[in-house]
């Protein structure tokens, strides 16, 4: 496990002004338990800038109507806003064609869509699904459910002590029975940026399995290029990238989307409905049954606009600068164990740690009383916890509006933990 950051790379001054950005976020302007809030739970969900809140408000105050099929002016405007947002979200992950983007409720919804709509038709008893031990429950349980229904077998890429995939086993893990490979782009529990650029071509060379990336932590952070990655599907959530709750997207290659049966049935996704059968609308609407989360989509589009104004490439640099600083400062604490890759350039803005003296829940309660919000628990990654023989870690996770002062506040509040539990 990493203790102190490798200092091989010179610290650059990133092109992002976190102090300025934080003024855009109303939720950060408050005191919690008598202290200015330091919000370090961004891997769970990020705060929302005024630009996003305003876009959602504007939608409701001016354009709100059910999209598609409506002829009246509000419906036309709502449809335009909704489809315009789809184009923005496509752009954010480098997708050339907005109609390859399916709106979902979030990453979990997107992966379940695939597990059901692709899985039930293409996976049979004895087939294999390859995951990794790093996965979030949302990229484990849908496949467990599918395996249970079909009799497929789940296999895992293991992780080493630094939370990195052990890739030597890959040739053995892939074979002609492998139907689906679903992996996280970035781990939420340890912060590892996984080497998907290396792994995806290896999988393609060995199987014709469906390749899915869980981009819940990747999309908010990395300049994603779905075509360059060469995957079939990329799932991500709005709420982890400054967007509203209840909205996310699943990008898929057109041929794959077209080869897939619908997931949910209902309004908007049909062409013709008869008494015993129905025919489907075109991609992506085939996968969008029911009244969609229109305000959510508009908000997620506005979040993309906002993040583009921040700068696609500045985000990762800034988060890694903070992590570098945090690792340096945290590693001075007595009895600390820090999880995840040693090399900062293979890390996202997540720092998971434990202290010998105090349990993560106690850490979290105490730092919260000092206005510092971190998460404690298994982070929906129980396999990772089992791998390291712990039930829980404390996790600080940074985003564009966090500063070095936030790290200092975390460290000083951890000293309070040590005072109580010392």
């Amino acid at each position: 496990m990493a203790t102190r950051a490798d200092s091989g790379h010179p610290v650059q001054t990133p092109a992002l002004d976190a102090h300025a950005l934080r003024r855009d976020f109303p939720a950060l302007q408050q005191e919690v338990h008598g202290h200015p809030l330091v919000y370090l739970d961004n891997a769970a969900t990020t705060q929302k800038p005024v630009a996003v809140l305003d876009a959602v408000q504007r939608y409701y105050r001016e354009d709100n109507a059910n999209v598609h099929r409506g002829i009246h002016e509000l419906s036309r405007r709502a449809t335009e806003a909704y489809e315009g947002a789809r184009a923005k979200v496509a752009r954010w992950i480098g997708a050339a064609d907005p109609s390859e983007v399916v709106w979902t409720r979030g990453t979990t919804d997107g992966i379940n869509l695939l597990a059901a709509a692709w899985g039930l038709d293409h996976v049979k008893e004895g087939d294999e699904i390859l995951l990794s031990v790093l996965e979030h429950h949302s990229n484990l349980v849908p496949w467990h459910l599918l395996a249970r229904r079909t009799g497929a077998r789940i296999r895992y890429i293991e992780i080493d002590d630094q939370g990195e995939w052990i890739l030597d086993d890959l040739p053995e893990l892939l074979n002609e029975r492998t139907r689906i490979v679903s992996l996280s782009h970035v781990s939420n529990s340890l912060g590892s940026i996984n080497p998907v650029e290396q792994v995806v071509p290896e999988i393609r060379a060995r199987t014709d399995a469906l390749i899915v990336l869980d981009g819940a932590q990747g999309a908010p952070l990395l300049p994603v290029d779905v075509h360059g990655l060469g995957v079939d599907f990329y799932a991500f959530s709005g709420h982890k990238m400054c967007g509203p709750t209840g909205i996310g997207a699943l990008w898929g290659r057109r041929d794959r989307l077209e080869a897939m049966e619908p997931y949910q049935g209902g309004g908007e996704m049909i062409s013709l409905v008869e008494r015993d059968a129905s025919t489907w609308a075109e991609v992506p609407h085939k996968f969008e049954a029911g009244t969609p989360n229109m305000a959510g989509a508009v908000g997620m589009g506005a979040a993309v606009d906002y993040l583009e104004s921040v700068g696609r490439d500045a985000i990762l640099a800034w988060e890694q600068a903070l992590v570098r600083y945090a690792l340096d400062r945290l590693s001075d604490l007595p009895g600390i164990t820090i999880y995840g890759p040693r090399a900062v350039e293979r890390r996202s803005g997540v720092v998971s740690f434990t202290l010998e003296a105090a349990h993560p829940h106690d850490i979290s309660t105490i730092v919260d009383m000092h206005g510092v919000a971190i998460r404690a628990g298994h982070h929906c990654a129980q396999l990772v916890m089992q791998r390291y023989g712990t039930a829980a870690t404390a996790r600080a996770s940074f985003y564009i509006y966090n500063t070095r002062e936030d790290v200092d506040r975390l460290v000083s509040s951890l000293h309070e933990v040590l005072k109580i539990f010392g």
Binding site: H68, R69, G70, I71, S75, R76, I270, S271, L272
Partner: protein
């Protein structure tokens, strides 16, 4: 943007074609038949075609839907009779341009009565209605091409 005007949409000529559609009905000796539906609104047409010596010898349609979709098909069929099949592509393109607001296209005399539909471009949700006929026509010619290549 200036407000679109209803009278630019509902030209007398459109209402006239809607009430008295040209070439409506079935023919017995069609070479190809296409059924086309606009899933978002339920408008539908069946288009039948006969081609002789590279020209459209006859065309008929049946269908139901709004004034725009039905008038547009009627106007299209009127224009097609005797036209070389090879001209259809550029006619369809021209009409699509008109639907996207191209004012040159709206004045193109080759477009016949279809020019009365220029106002539809100001009503974006209705553009699909106007395009239904040409969509069916192009599908029909594709089918015809396929079957002639097969033979």
């Amino acid at each position: 943007m200036q407000e679109p005007q209803l009278n630019s949409l509902y030209q007398q000529l459109i209402l006239e074609h809607y009430r008295n559609p040209r070439n409506k009905g079935e023919m017995d000796d069609s070479q190809v038949e296409v059924h086309m539906r606009n899933p978002s609104c339920g408008d539908e047409i069946k288009l039948q075609l006969r081609v002789e010596h590279g020209r459209i010898a006859d065309v008929r349609f049946t269908g139901q839907g709004c004034s725009i979709s039905q008038a547009a098909v009627s106007m299209m069929t009127q224009l097609l009779k005797g036209k070389p099949v090879d001209d259809v592509g550029s006619m369809a393109d021209r009409f699509t341009e008109m639907m996207h607001g191209d004012e040159e296209a709206a004045k193109d005399r080759r477009m016949g009565d279809l020019r009365a539909l220029a106002g539809v471009s100001r009503f974006p949700v209705r553009v699909k209605c106007a395009l239904l006929g040409f969509d069916a026509l192009q599908e029909a010619l594709r089918k015809l091409g396929d079957s002639s290549t097969e033979n």
